[in-house]
């Protein structure tokens, strides 16, 4: 078995119009920028994929990565916890113009819904959001005298994730806080496509140190020196540099 994919274009080739795509990352860390930009390249060349529903903690920063995807009009709906950032202008404009739908989810609930999707738990109860606007229309049940809100699992057709080291069986490690949503999204997507800084042979990762076991991963592509979204934004980068 070999889950390695030779290049970024092949890695994102399966994503189709209307799909739900989970994208890892939190703020400027852990964003699979190279995978996202490969997807934007495909969209610019072919007009597809479009009408995507994207799941991410944020709504993109500046004009690269997820923000650039939104800017190109590829995203119809965003499911996230915090669509603000140092520079959220792209999402903000689209949202206020009514051009993109937002499903706002408390961060812990978002993480747990994605985990539940990967773990075969169709619904669970959480105290978070009880009594607030975000619980409106949701089922409430009392346990041990305290009210909880029922939340549903979240699954995706694809996950695009940035990890650190991967082997060709799909076993992954992450780097520091870039781990964030990656392991959860890998488990909740029908196809988890992961960019890693280095691909090693099976056995190259200590079995105790594997964070995402290969069973949750469908494709691994090597991006030896990935860019950091935070650094792109500090440099005021725009993707693609010359938009069509």
């Amino acid at each position: 078995m070999d889950k390695t994919i030779p290049d970024l274009a092949s890695a994102v080739a399966g994503i189709e119009d209307g799909m739900t795509v989970m994208i890892g990352g939190f703020g400027g860390s852990g964003n699979p920028i190279e995978l996202i930009h490969a997807l934007i390249d495909r969209f610019l060349a072919t007009g597809h994929p479009r009408n995507l529903t994207v799941v991410n903690n944020n709504a993109g920063n500046g004009h690269v990565g997820l923000a650039a995807m939104i800017e190109q009009g590829m995203v119809t709906k965003l499911i996230c916890s915090f669509p603000r950032s140092a520079d959220p202008v792209v999402f903000t404009e689209r949202y206020l113009a009514g051009e993109i739908e937002l499903e706002l989810v408390p961060q812990g609930t978002l993480a747990e819904r994605i985990r539940a999707g990967g773990a075969g738990i169709p619904a669970f109860y959480t105290p978070s959001s009880y009594g607030t606007d975000l619980a409106k229309g949701k089922k409430v049940e009392e346990f041990d005298g305290r009210p909880y809100v029922q939340e549903r699992w979240l699954k995706a057709d694809y996950a695009l994730v940035k990890a650190h080291v991967g082997d060709r069986l799909g076993n992954l490690t992450y780097r520091m806080a870039a781990r964030n949503f990656g392991p959860l999204m890998c488990s909740a997507a029908a196809s988890a496509i992961v960019q890693v800084s280095r691909i090693v042979e099976p056995g190259g990762i200590d079995p105790e140190a594997v964070i995402t076991p290969g069973i949750f991963v469908q494709g691994v592509v090597e991006v030896p020196k990935p860019v950091q979204e935070e650094e792109l934004n500090r440099a005021k980068a725009v993707y693609p540099e010359v938009a069509e």
């Binding site: 078995m1 985990r115 999707g117 990967g118 773990a119 075969g120 738990i121 082997d167 069986l169 076993n171 488990s187 042979e201 099976p202 056995g203 079995p207 105790e208 594997v210 076991p213 290969g214 069973i215 949750f216």
Partner: protein, 223 residues
């Protein structure tokens, strides 16, 4: 007495359907034997409930590390690419639909796919382990079993009389006499021993065997 496959041969037959790179959980006992018969060129990745993916065969006697065991509490070995994880992550793999195949034993399988394999009734100490999770998680739930009980009663039945492990969960049964799929609430015969007639096989089966397509010969090497 009818000619029939040995348990080892049933395990061999089940192993032929496992594709290269498949994620597989093998139940305690007879199903564990399936791992021995992977066809050349194919390598399945074995999962065990107690937190290992991609482990290898049993170690040489005396070489056991008792922190490295499978769900049957038997010692296994590391292979390149093994991963360890805790029990909640292990059953996330199971329940979350990440396993391609789970192969289990059975007391009874019903034509609607119900499985009874954990309890023979109220006597004794009940024990369930991971079976109830496995039957609802894996994409294919296959059973390997003798075609009849030791007393000669059918194990493939119209409806289970023993306590259920899962409802409508079994997709294929490998028995000592036949390979039977479960489709739309029916047993569909795919293969049978050449030496047994369809009528004789039907008489040893507790529900109707459908034959909408060709019935292949069930064969296995001497093992």
């Amino acid at each position: 007495m009818t000619e029939k496959l040995t348990p080892t041969q049933i395990a061999w037959r089940a192993a032929q359907d496992i594709t290269d790179g498949a994620y597989v959980n093998l139940g305690i006992g007879l199903p564990e034997m399936v791992a021995r018969f992977q066809p050349p060129g194919r390598q399945a990745i074995f999962h065990t409930e107690n937190g290992i993916l991609g482990f290898g065969q049993a170690p040489e006697p005396g070489q056991e590390d008792w922190d490295l065991i499978n769900a049957g509490k038997k010692a296994v070995t590391l292979k390149p690419g093994t991963a360890f994880f805790h029990h909640a992550d292990s059953f996330a793999m199971v329940r979350g639909g990440h396993l391609d195949v789970a192969i289990l034993g059975a007391y009874q399988v019903a034509e609607n796919g119900d499985l009874a394999n954990w309890s023979t009734g109220p006597k004794g100490v009940p024990a369930v382990g991971g079976a109830m999770d496995l039957v609802h998680g894996a994409r294919r739930v296959a059973i390997i079993t003798d075609h009849v009980t030791k007393k000669g009663e059918p194990k493939l039945v119209e409806s289970c009389t023993l306590p259920l492990t899962g409802v409508g969960c079994v997709t294929r049964v490998y028995t000592s006499l036949a390979v039977v799929d479960i489709e739309d609430g029916h047993f569909v015969l795919r293969e049978k021993l050449p030496s047994i007639s369809l009528d004789d096989l039907q008489s040893l089966t507790g529900a109707r065997l459908h034959t909408p397509g060709p019935v292949g010969d069930l064969t296995a090497p001497e093992l």
